[in-house]
Symmetry: C2
Subunit: 418 residues, 2 copies
């Protein structure tokens, strides 16, 4: 049993008792001998953050190329480097991402990439919670489609057999402009067969929407809905930057979860998603950082702040996206999208807990903490507990050898750049 | 003499030698006995950041009220609290701001506020470099005008007499919609008399521009230009969110320095300044955080990142505001606006230097550091040297008792809220 004693939480001091991987009591807890105790008296407790759209090994592409048109960035930098990836390189890239997520208070992430054995190995060691999807792209080629679907199914079975409670499989068809209708229809069936969520890129750029329209005569959400892609499954749609009213209706009716990635969308010049409009429809908004090729970090606190200020600024309305709403996007809404009992500090919930040292100038005066966490803090946290295990203590990660990962990540980077 | 040995700087390892308050050598320096030495082998050196628009004691208003319409925010929260300020409260609010700026790598700031004795005392103790202006508002009342001008002149003389090389006076007429033409004309004369810069809010909101147009028949820059406000003086104009082509021409011709405050402008829903357009005209763009009532922090790294991504996103052009440009806004351009030999690491420049520990996941792989500093780092720095003095060492501020300031800031906050 693990006891966090006397911690600030929702404006009061409380004790949080953890047994196995769950919060069993919040309130006053009598300290007993067999308990491991964390002194919370200088700390603020929040639920671990949930990042709903990542490509975690892309930490290795951080800063490789910025400020470029999308196709130049992909053709000249990202794709040539991705062609040289292997399980080992991806393993170190993932560990680097895990270090960053733990240090910035993220406890769960939803990922889409390749070489999932390397990713899963790193996640298992790190202590993080993750949904891992193999990214499928068939470019409308039948042979490639069969291969991709086989791979996806193979990885679902692999991850299920791993027996790590924190790692769950998902399905990752890349996007409607890179995946055939047949692939997408099959993904719907596989999602039902294995009871796994679908993670897909939707409506990120005006150009891709135009391409789908040319190919199918429909907008992307209309097109997918035409063959019941959203029916009977849980979908997390990343980006959703440009949406017609008809598409918003489909998102609402089919209960599609939106992963809003404001920083990536700004940096790649994709645009600004109509989040206030989606909120009015009661759509579940979550937050994602995207990969480090387009952000360039995994600090979800930045995403929370940018989300909270951006929509005010571009809509000239300071009352849009209140602090608590933005914080919920990164916690409880993410948990809802991934169907896990997390994103909140409550008895019975998963023990995914982050502690932040209050002796930080951005948290002073120590009032209005829920505002500070959104608009001011944006920094590094102190302790991270995931699934009941202490993963970081006073800024020191217990599960990963940080310095070794930095060295290996640098070596991997040079192998990719060769 | 202070020697920073073997530090990463512009992609190479160098030594930086400081004598008195200046950088005297960059390259290889033989260590001698009388030198104090900082081991730079795990660190990256950058010039200290320059924040060109702050209201530093407003740290005490952090998180007091967010997500509200401007007038409600001012009338119900900010103004009632400001009415209770005094020298002591302002002193602690300033110290709190100094802690935050030092920890996030800012070495110079340009401030406008009241109770300048309290501010100057805190800045002097902290070791920071600052330009301090008394914020003047006459609301077109003659009696108030005389009082404000007298105050401003009194503070210039007070600050000049202080004899602290790091603290310089400036003139702070609040804005064209709160200051009479007579006051503004007198400010131009005083700026020449004392050779001090003018710090003013310009074109922050559409509403205030409309008000100036109603009062004068002109847009704010046209109006000020009509009585030669910009002639023969150095002006730093904060915000500049909404500008006509005619006004941009005036900014260019009169060499007005723009302090771009993207986060405050988004959060208060003022809009997005036309920075790419101003850059095309060769106008000097600098960065400011504004006060903690509207940001809510003083971390200029956030401002750099938001600036670099925002204009790409809203203009749908990923090539706008490149990483180096955004970094220059926060360093060399700020120095140019304030006319100090800083914002760069060069022999002969002021020794305002920031060191960042490279063992940080957001800086890995340790390549493309100039990109990481803009798009990924956004965090806390390790060592800060200002005017040749070591102000922070390995994350510990040497000039201020942090814990005491947090306690006093909280007490001050409750006095303001009473």
């Amino acid at each position: 049993m693990l006891l966090i004693k006397n911690v600030f939480f929702n404006g009061k001091r409380r004790d949080i008792l953890i047994e196995d991987n769950k919060i069993v009591k919040i309130g006053e807890v009598k300290r007993e001998e067999e308990m491991e105790v964390i002194d919370g008296s200088k700390k603020i407790a929040i639920p671990g953050l949930i990042n709903t759209h990542t490509h975690i090994p892309m930490t290795l592409f951080r800063g490789v190329a910025d400020d470029l048109p999308l196709m130049e960035w992909l053709n000249n930098y990202i794709w040539p480097m991705e062609a040289k990836l292997n399980e080992e390189i991806v393993y170190y890239g993932t560990l680097l991402g895990c270090i960053e997520m733990i240090k910035t208070g993220t406890t769960t992430f939803n990922d889409m990439y390749f070489y999932l054995e390397g990713i899963a190995k790193a996640v298992e060691e790190s202590g993080l919670r993750a949904f891992l999807a193999y990214g499928m792209i068939d470019l409308f080629d039948e042979e490639r489609r069969e291969k991709e679907l086989k791979n996806a199914e193979k990885y679902i079975e692999y991850l299920n057999k791993l027996g790590c409670e924190r790692i769950k499989p998902a399905l990752g068809p890349h996007a409607p402009y890179t995946c055939s209708k047949e692939l997408l229809a099959e993904v719907n069936k596989l999602a039902k067969k294995y009871s796994v969520p679908i993670h897909i890129h939707m409506n990120e750029t005006l150009e891709e929407i135009k391409r789908v329209k040319e190919l199918t005569g429909m907008k992307p959400f209309e097109y997918l809905n035409s063959f019941k892609f959203f029916d009977g499954v849980k979908v997390i749609a990343a980006h959703c930057v440009h949406l017609s009213d008809e598409e918003i209706k489909i998102i609402k009716e089919k209960r599609v979860n939106v992963s809003h990635n404001p920083i990536s969308n700004l940096k790649l010049a994709s645009g600004v998603a109509p989040i206030p409009k989606l909120l009015k429809e009661g759509i579940n908004i979550t937050l994602g950082t995207d990969g480090c090729g387009s952000n360039n970090n995994l600090n979800l606190f930045e995403e929370i702040k940018v989300c909270a200020i951006l929509h005010k600024g571009v809509n000239l309305d300071p009352t849009l996206i209140k602090a608590d709403e933005a914080f919920n996007f990164a916690t409880i809404n993410g948990a809802k999208a991934l169907d896990i009992n997390a994103g909140k500090l409550e008895e019975g919930a998963l023990a995914d807990i982050v502690l932040i040292n209050k002796d930080n100038p951005t948290l002073q005066p120590l009032e209005n903490i829920s505002s500070h966490l959104v608009y001011s803090f944006n920094g590094f946290v102190d302790d991270v507990i995931i699934d009941g295990n202490v993963v970081m203590r006073d800024g020191k990660i217990l599960t990963i050898d940080e310095e070794k990962v930095y060295e290996e990540a640098e070596k991997a980077y040079y192998r990719l750049k060769e």
